[in-house]
């Protein structure tokens, strides 16, 4: 029964052309995947990018190694799609915070505060919401933060998804948190709560 099967068993069925298994996987992961994509800064094309991720899952199902976890494989596909998307959008007009850095000739998704006095930018950043906070991080740091903070992946899993050493994941997360805390200090908001990971 697809409802009781593990993700990896479902992938085996998808490799055999089973539509119900793909539907079940989508029921489990479509929402976390979409949230990841949107937080990554791909708001406008989120539907298309998510669809492409699922099509790649269907296309590569036969090559899926059942010894691996499906969730890390799926997010690996999605991270690569997000990177490609940001690379493609590099030269296009800027729509939202995610591409802010690009408009200033910097790294895609680079901080709008980079190279500026924090005090001077505090006013500009006063209205930062979560998306704009995330957009203030470079793409590599944002990916790590999304995987570790929002999606509850372990350091090792994040390293596997991003294709980098665990130490790199750790340092990028530290850099991301330090940067976010400096933004938070520049424009504090009261209250706070811990978050449950966006993962089935």
């Amino acid at each position: 029964m697809p409802g009781e099967a593990s993700d990896e068993d479902l992938m085996h069925l998808v490799a055999g052309g089973n539509e119900a298994a793909l539907r079940e996987l989508m029921a489990r992961y479509a929402t976390p995947l979409r949230r990841f994509v949107v937080r990554h800064g791909v708001e406008r094309d989120a539907d298309d990018l998510c669809q492409e991720a699922w099509l790649r899952v269907a296309r590569s199902a036969a090559r899926f190694d059942r010894a691996r976890r499906f969730s890390t494989w799926l997010f690996q596909i999605t991270v690569n799609l997000c990177r490609d998307w940001h690379r493609r959008r590099h030269d296009e007009p800027i729509g939202d915070g995610a591409e802010w850095g690009a408009s200033r000739g910097g790294e895609v998704g680079a901080s709008p505060l980079e190279g500026r006095d924090v005090g001077a930018t505090a006013a500009t950043e006063a209205g930062l919401d979560a998306r704009r906070l995330l957009a203030a991080l470079p793409e590599a740091q944002r990916s790590v933060l999304l995987l570790r903070y929002y999606h509850g992946f372990s350091e090792a899993e994040a390293a596997e998804i991003l294709g980098c050493p665990r130490g790199t994941v750790k340092s990028r997360l530290h850099q991301a948190v330090a940067r976010l805390l400096s933004l938070e200090r520049a424009d504090p908001q009261p209250g706070g709560r811990r978050r449950e990971p966006d993962r089935p």
Partner: protein
């Protein structure tokens, strides 16, 4: 994984460890916990982590648009059909290989037995009669083998069709 990745790793302090653990809601190890109690920089880290957490969670809930799954499944239909065909072909090849792999051994054993039988029969019967009997036996064995192996692809295909039906229920 590139050498550059290691270069970009800065020295990480215990304060960094504390900040990250607090934001992720992970428990501090003994060293970090001791450090957090004595460090003036880390004194307000918990409040700062909570405030940051509040900011990061203060976002509109993203939901998958209605009909998204159907749209994806429609687009994935040709891929799933291709997967189905490939899986069937792979399974068929595996079955045929498994069935035909012992065939040379079976043929060798048959030849060996027939030769033995011919030698035995030649001792007690005229050579031509022995040859006639052994050739008859050989023809019968050949016919049986052909029937058996001729049925393998048909049975394999039928089993695969049943398995496909099972998968799609």
């Amino acid at each position: 994984m590139s050498p550059r990745d290691d270069d970009e790793r800065p020295a990480m302090s215990l304060c960094d460890e504390v900040r990250v653990a607090l934001l992720l809601g992970e428990p501090l190890d003994d060293t970090a916990a001791t450090h957090a109690q004595s460090c003036t920089v880390c004194a307000g880290a918990d409040a700062a982590a909570r405030a940051l957490s509040a900011r990061l969670t203060a976002e509109p809930e993203e939901t998958v648009p209605a009909g998204f799954s159907d749209r994806v499944l429609r687009a994935a239909a040709p891929l799933l059909e291709r997967n189905r065909r490939r899986a069937t072909a792979r399974q068929l090849v595996r079955t045929l290989v498994a069935a035909f792999l012992p065939l040379p051994v079976i043929v060798l054993v048959d030849v060996y037995l027939l030769r033995g039988a011919y030698q035995l029969l030649s001792d007690v019967l005229p050579t031509s009669l022995s040859l006639y009997l052994v050739l008859n036996a050989a023809a019968m064995l050949g016919a049986l083998l052909s029937l058996t192996y001729g049925a393998v692809p048909i049975l394999a295909e039928r089993q695969l069709r049943a398995r496909r039906r099972e998968l799609h229920v």
